[in-house]
Amino acid sequence: MDVPLSWYLLLSAALFSLGVIGFLIKRNLITVFMSIELMLNAVNLSFVTFAHQWHAVRGQIFVFFVMTVAAAEAAVGLAIIIAIFRARNTLAVDRIDLMKL
């Protein structure tokens, strides 16, 4: 049973699009953050797919890099989110706009 390459890629694209949509329409910062993770993992899926397809190990190494960075990013991001919540008592993205002139 051989699953064709396009199925993996379509799944990856679907997951990425879900991530983008979630990033754009969700208001809760944690959900936005989860959407980013979703996009990262969608990309990981394509990397693994291509690595399998071309028998190249580079794609898998990239996946490890992405996972490491994602873990670090999650740690830092969650810390920032907690700090923001403590300071402003809200996680609504639209109301975190202090940088605006």
Partner: protein
Amino acid sequence: MNAPLHLWLIPLLPFAGFLLNGILGRRLPKVLTTAIGLLLPLASFGLVLNAARSITGFGSSVPLPAAESFPFSWISVGTLHIDFNLVLDQLSLVMLLIITGVGFLIHVYSVGYMHDDAGYARYFSYLNLFLFFMTTLVLAGNVLLMFVGWEGVGLASYLLIGFWFEKTSAADAGKKAFIANRIGDFGFLIGIFLLLGNFGTLTFSDIAAKLAAMPGWTGGILTAICLCLLVGATGKSAQLPLYVWLPDAMEGPTPVSALIHAATMVTAGVYMISRTHFLFDRSPYALGAVAIVGAATAFFAATMGLMQNDIKRVLAYSTMSQLGYMFLACGVAAYSAAIFHLMTHAFFKALLFLAAGSVIHAMGGEQDMRKMGGLRKKLPVTFWTMTAAVFAISGFFPFAGFFSKDAILYAAFLQGTGGKILWFVGLVTALLTAIYMFRLWYMTFFGETRSHDVHPHEAPLSMLIPLVILGALAVCGGWIGIERISDYLAPVTGPRNAPPVTGHLELWLSILAVAVAAEGWLIADKYYRRKPERPAQLAAALPGTYDLIANKYYVDELYGAIFVKPLLAFSRYILGWVVDTGILGGAAWLLGGTATLGGAVLQRWQSGNLRSYAAWLALGAAALLIAAVAVHSGWALSFQSVSSHFTLKAAGH
């Protein structure tokens, strides 16, 4: 036996004084400031005396000119090499003796005169700076180094005229002096360029050698060079038409007027012409111009001096007048007579200024002669030394001025018909000189005291000693005689071009000159002592002439209308409004406005809304994706088809 002369130390010692007092002056105790300010010029004077001794006397004679140059080159471009070379010859030695000698005396005098001034250390540092530049000017072996000294004395003069810069008039006078000198210096600079272009060198001795190798070369470009140099000289030496700064320069402290604006700096023009006389000798027109400028200045300045009431301004006009005599002497190629008069003038004019300073000091800062009078008994030393100076400048035998002025008038008289006219102008000027000097003498020292709220007192010893020394020099300074001076200067300025005395011409001319001076004294005596009401009656009888002269021929007003007003208008309207506000301001406004406007538009993009940023990001990514797909499918295909088409065509052939 050839002991080194250490010429380079002569300028550098006062320069060290300038640095020490200029940098540390405020923190040093006054005694130390005085010591630095006096001892370094004294050391310089000592070096000059040592040079004079080792040249002239006691067996060990250093051959002149003695040159010293620094081991490194100053400017080296192509074939042009300019060094810091200092040259001591008979001419520069005489000048150095005057500059450092009289300069030191005036330094001593300043200790008393400036004692209570807040800028005491600053004053001495400027004075030392002046000595540095003036000795550089005189010792310079090439035109460019001379020009450095020339500009430097202008700077020192500017700083010292505006020494009391809190006074607007003093600050303005400094600026006026500087700007008037700029005009002259521009001429000098053009002259230097012409010299460089035509001779390929700026060293005096090389230029002289090149000229000597071409005895037939006269006029033409040499006249142009000389006239340019003359413009420079008229600026520095306050001759027509650039003299306007000198009367205003009297805003400076009186010892400064004595040192810079009487004894030394203003004579730089005379020195420069004497130094470059080999050029002027080749150009009869330039010499004629020098003589006419000199005679005209001598006469006009003397007439202006008649009407001044400020004691220092009388002396300023008389300085211009005497400098006119020196130019007149240069113009008839009697350079040694010019230098002789320069020397005696340095003595008696420095003395006049210092004595005037003593009077001003005694009167508590009053400079108006109409408020003086009757000071003879209260200021005996000042009175007697001033008297010596007045007799010297008027040309009475046997005072110093008699000998030098006589030498000039005699030299002029021998120069054909034109020379006779110059001689006559000089003689009339001598009459006017005697009148205004005795007028000053009578108004200051004789008659009734006209101001009762001051109690004049004689100056301190530090001021009296220079007065007495200069007084002695003003009496005896001329006894050297023109023959000895011109014999001494002959290696530099050429032999005195006076024919052997035939008959008693020189004697008769001398007697005539003294008679004219005595006549001037009698007129002054009549108008200012015996019949003090006469000047006012005369003024009422000749209102036009009186107004013209009292207002100094309206020259300041004329220059204001011709040069200053149009320049100001040009600056304000063309440069200020059109160029500055319009073009430069407009360009700046345009740039700033564009940036502000762009910022205002782009600012809306930065909404601060995280999701809008994300949307832009997604849109951008989508656009890149579409573009990549488009390139990959469409354009790449078309490119491929085109290239394959070409390949096929190539294969077909």
